[in-house]
C-alpha cells in the first residue's frame, strides 16, 4: 500500500467512525480496525492534520475531523439517530449537510446566550429568523487558530 492509499483508508475510517458513532478513533484503534501498523497510522494522522483535514490535540488524539468535533461544544447537532458537536455554526450546519439528513442545531446567541435552534428538513433551513452569523477573523488567517476562528 502506498502512502496515499494509507492516508485515504485512515481518513475514510476516521470519518466513518464520526458519522456512524460520533466517535473519534485513537490511532491505535484505527490501526487495529484496519490491520495496520500503529506508527504508520500515527504518521497518517499527522499528515492529515498537516493537510488541515483533521485537527489534533497535543496528545495526538483527534480534536476535530471537520465538520465533526470530538469534544463537547456549544453547537450541538441533533439527528433522529444521535447527537454530534461542531466547533462553530458553519461546522454544525456542515454536519447536517455531510450526513444529508434532517437535523436541528442547538446553540446560543454569542452575545446574550439565549437559546437558538436552526432546523433543516428535506435539505432546507426551516423558517430562519433574523439570526446572523459573524466571524471576526479574515479567511486567510483561519488556520492560524482554527479553534478560535
Amino acid at each position: 500500500m502506498n502512502e496515499s492509499d494509507l492516508h485515504n483508508r485512515v481518513r475514510a475510517f476516521i470519518f466513518d467512525e464520526f458519522m456512524q458513532r460520533n466517535h473519534a478513533p485513537s490511532a491505535s484503534e484505527t490501526a487495529q480496525a484496519l490491520g495496520l501498523d500503529s506508527a504508520a497510522v500515527r504518521d497518517a494522522y499527522r499528515a492529515l492534520a498537516d493537510g488541515h483535514v483533521i485537527v489534533l490535540q497535543s496528545s495526538g488524539d483527534i480534536l476535530s475531523a471537520n465538520p465533526y468535533a470530538a469534544v463537547p461544544t456549544p453547537f450541538v447537532v441533533e439527528t433522529a439517530r444521535r447527537a454530534y458537536n461542531g466547533i462553530c455554526i458553519w461546522d454544525a450546519l456542515g454536519i447536517v449537510a455531510n450526513l444529508g439528513c434532517d437535523a436541528t442545531v442547538h446553540t446560543t446567541c454569542g452575545d446574550c446566550s439565549d437559546g437558538i435552534a436552526l432546523t433543516v428538513r428535506a435539505g432546507k433551513l426551516v423558517q430562519p429568523g433574523g439570526e446572523v452569523v459573524h466571524i471576526s477573523v479574515p479567511a486567510r488567517h483561519w488556520w492560524t487558530n482554527i479553534v478560535f476562528s
Binding site: 470519518f15 465538520p67 454569542g110 452575545d111 436552526l118 439570526e131 452569523v133 471576526s136
Partner: protein, 72 residues
C-alpha cells in the same frame, strides 16, 4: 464563527471582546456555505480539500467577495 440574534447583538459582542466587526451573513447563507463546503463524502478515496481557487470561487458564488474572504 458564532450565531447571533441580530446585528445589534454582534455589535455588543465585538465591543465587549474588543473584536473587529468582520463578516456577517444570514443563517440561510451559512446553510448554503455549509452545503457547498461539507456535502461531499469525506470517506471517498477521491475526496480532497478544495484548492484556494475553488474555495474562493465557492465564497464568490455566495456573494462573499470582499477582501475579508480572500485566501492569499
Amino acid at each position: 464563527m458564532l450565531l447571533f440574534r441580530s446585528e445589534e447583538h454582534v455589535d455588543r459582542w465585538c465591543e465587549l471582546w474588543s473584536q473587529p466587526r468582520g463578516a456577517m451573513f444570514s443563517a440561510e447563507q451559512a446553510w448554503q456555505l455549509a452545503q457547498q463546503w461539507y456535502q461531499a463524502d469525506r470517506r471517498e478515496a477521491a475526496w480532497r480539500r478544495k484548492t484556494v481557487d475553488e474555495a474562493e470561487a465557492t465564497f464568490a458564488q455566495l456573494g462573499f467577495t470582499s477582501d475579508f474572504w480572500r485566501l492569499r
